[in-house]
Structure formats: C-alpha cells, structure tokens
Symmetry: C2
Subunit: 253 residues, 2 copies
C-alpha cells in the first residue's frame, strides 16, 4: 500500500489516425496494461508525422507525467520520423544500436536481407535500450521513462508484454461493474450521493441503447478493495430500492 | 480551388477512454467527416473529467486550430462537467438554453419527466447555439468555432450530420489506395522518390500481416485530382517494375 500515484501519457504519432483511415487501438490497450502496473493513464495525444508537433507534445507530456509512451513512426519508410524527432527533443544524437542491427540482420536473412529502409529500424536515440519485438524484428526503444512503441497494435502488445512488471507503479485501480436497465438521467442524484459517501471511490456511468431500450453500466473504481465493495453494494442496493434491479458484475452489451 | 488550409482538433473528454474501458471511435469518425468538409484534423487529445485539464487543453487547441470539437461529458451525471469547464475557459456564464429545455421537456414527457440531472443537459455556455440530436433529446452545442458533441458515437454521428456543409473549409483531400503483397521495408526508397516526384502528394504506408504473409496498403493523398492520379500510377508502375504486382484500389484486409 502506497500513496504515491504514478502517471503516464500516450503520444500517438501518425497521419493515418488523424486522416480517419486507421482506428487507433493503442491508447486503450496501453491504458488497460497500465492499470495492471499500478500506473494511471492521465492523457493521450495524437499528432501528425511532423517533427515540430512531435517535439512540442513530447516536451509537454514529459513535464507532467512519470512515464510517456509513444506509438507509431518507427518503421522503415520516409514518414517514420519518430526516432529522429525524439532524439532532437531530448538533445541526443541518433545512433545505430548494434544489438538492434544484429536482430534485424537475423530477421531479414531469409527475407531479402538488410537495405537502407530496414536499417533505419536499428536507429535509436543515443543511450537507449531495446524493447523486444517477437513478431517482426524491429525492436521498441526505451529511453529512461520514455517508451517508443510500434504503431501496429499486436506488435505493441508484444512489447508491453516484455515490459510487464519492470516499471515502478503504485496500487492498481480495482473496479466493479453494475449493469442496470435504467436511464442514467433517472438516477444521477443516486450516483453522486453514493460516490460522496465512499471516500476514494469513483463511479463512472456508461449508457447504452439496445432494441429501443436504454440501460447503463456503472463502473465503480477504487484502490482499496473494502471501499470498492462497500460502494458497489450501496449503489446496487440504491438502484434496487428505486425500482431498478441491479446486476452486480453483469450487463455490458 | 483555394490555398487556405482549414484545420481542426478533437478534444475527447472522459475517464472511460483513459481507463481503457471504452475504445474511442469519435476521433476517426470526426476525422473522416472533416475530410469531406475540406478541413484537416491536425491533433487530437484525450483528457480526464478534470476541469483544469479540460481548460488547459482547450486553450492550447483553440490557439492553434480553426475549429475545435469536444466529445463527451455532456450527459446528466455528476461526472459530466464539459459545459461548465468550457464556459469557464471562455469566460462566459452557464445558462439554461430555453430551446434545449423545451426539447428535453418534450423528450422526457413520456419517459418519467424532467429531473435535476436531465435539466443539466439544457445548460450551455452563454451565447451558444444548439446542434440537433435526433436520437436522445439532449442537443450538442456550438459556440463560434467550438463544437461540443456527445461521447456516444452514434449520437455524435447524428450531430455531425446536422453540421454537414455549414462549416467553411478548403479543398477536400482526395485519396487513392494501392494494395500490394510486399513488405514496406522492401520498397521504402521507391515511396520516397515517388512522393518527391509529385509535388502536393503524400504517400502513407500501412503494413499488415495475414496468415504469415506481409503486405501493405499505400494511400496517396493530394487535393488535386491530376496530382493524385499521376502519383498513384507512378507508384503502381514502380511496384510492378520491382516485381511486386500492385492493385490500384485493392487489398485492405
């Protein structure tokens, strides 16, 4: 049990997200992973493949949060400028990492060999360590509390896996869900009074619509199990008492 | 034909995105809609339901872009603080909009009537206009070049629909896709030389992996149709010549 709260931000780098072509999935998967590490994702930003934009966002996020994760822009093509932008932002040189080069040489040995584009993926900000990528050769990069990950979600998932348990964090946030066929606007006052009655709890309200009916999933969050349980039980009892049968752990749709 | 480029940012407000519980879909749908209006989405941010964070992000984005769209935090519950935060950021009061109140009275007439929580959804920053919501009563809000939209994606879709054609924009960005069973790292140099040979074009490279094979979708973007066509054709010819049959308009997976 510790009171220190560890925070993180995600910086998504890529024109394809801002053009609407690609649906980002990295923010949600990094968020979910961070919860387990006892680290809170506090902000996410999406910027284009533009050096000045990357640098400005990076500086802003590093000034505010304990950890920063970037995704995207570390591939072999001309629009992959993340490593150069980050090195510039940190005031360090870009160097070829010998281990990354060796990994890529092995990976491409049977795939046409290294070329100029592929060698780009061995370039890292000076002083950086590698994050293993078990799917496609090119590694992720760790530079202190800055983590440079892939844009392709399943590759980033593998990199997160490799980082599991290696970051300092606090108490994980616990959560409990209560589903109910009620309009959230019907019981807004109950949500507020229940949250206030349980210090350290937070109640989120996520409405849904199915086949002409409205319902809502309520998610109670707390770092202490007893606070979580007490708050969730009181909310469920309050919904029941108001004539809206609540299902602890149920309904998501 | 105009040279003025209109820009926009999206500010997603909601703990549920940062906790990983909910996958944001509003950035991509707003991005796609903006393209058609001739407006470029240049940045997106996700912040928690925290007043200071909302205000800081809003000020930063309004200073840089022509339009700002927010999503989330305009519902009936205690964690819906978007309207209050935005009013504070703009230095105006929060008022009950008579038309919004009338809309909500009609909507809830057969649904249990207005209560305190539901009336919150009639509150707007002073001077704001409403954006119709054909799904669930509570309207969106327009305050000059700031658009306050719902968090639930299909409701925001309806609001975007109501705004179509009402915003000043420039030339829409045109795009053409070329699919190819090639590793992007194989032809990175070709992408760069082709893009450079066609001023005003941009080539994005989106790799995929299917059943052990690697492939890539290349997306050419330009505001001029002739530039787009010439660049796409040269890229396809270059891929063919390198031994990688290219399919114009094909492969996405």
């Amino acid at each position: 049990m510790t009171d220190r709260i560890w925070t993180a931000a995600v910086l998504v780098i890529g024109d394809e997200i801002l053009s609407g072509r690609t649906q980002d999935k990295n923010v949600s998967q990094i968020a979910t992973w961070l919860n387990v590490q006892g680290i809170r994702l506090r902000e996410a930003r999406v910027v284009a493949d533009v050096e000045d934009d990357i640098i400005a966002a990076l500086h802003a996020l590093q000034a505010r949060y304990d950890y920063v994760f970037t995704t995207g822009g570390i591939g072999p093509t001309h629009d992959d400028i993340t490593v150069d932008a980050i090195a510039k932002a940190q005031g360090v040189a870009v160097v070829v990492h010998p281990e990354a080069r060796a990994v890529l040489e092995r990976y491409y040995e049977t795939r046409g060999g290294l070329n100029e584009g592929r060698l780009r993926m061995a370039r890292v900000p000076e002083g950086a360590d590698l994050i293993p990528n078990r799917y496609s050769g090119a590694p992720g990069i760790r530079l202190g509390n800055l983590f440079i990950m892939a844009g392709v979600p399943h590759i980033t998932a593998g990199m997160l896996d490799a980082l599991t348990g290696t970051l300092e964090g606090g108490d994980p946030v616990l959560s409990a869900q209560i589903g109910c066929w009620v309009a959230e606007s019907e019981i807004a006052a109950l949500l507020l009074s229940t949250e206030r009655a349980h210090e350290g709890s937070q109640i989120g309200s996520y409405p849904f619509f199915r086949e002409g009916r409205v319902g809502c999933n309520f998610v109670v969050r707390a770092t202490r199990q007893d606070v979580l349980d007490a708050c969730a039980q009181e909310l469920a009892a309050g919904l029941d008492a108001a004539g809206w049968p609540a299902i602890i752990g149920g309904i998501s749709l």
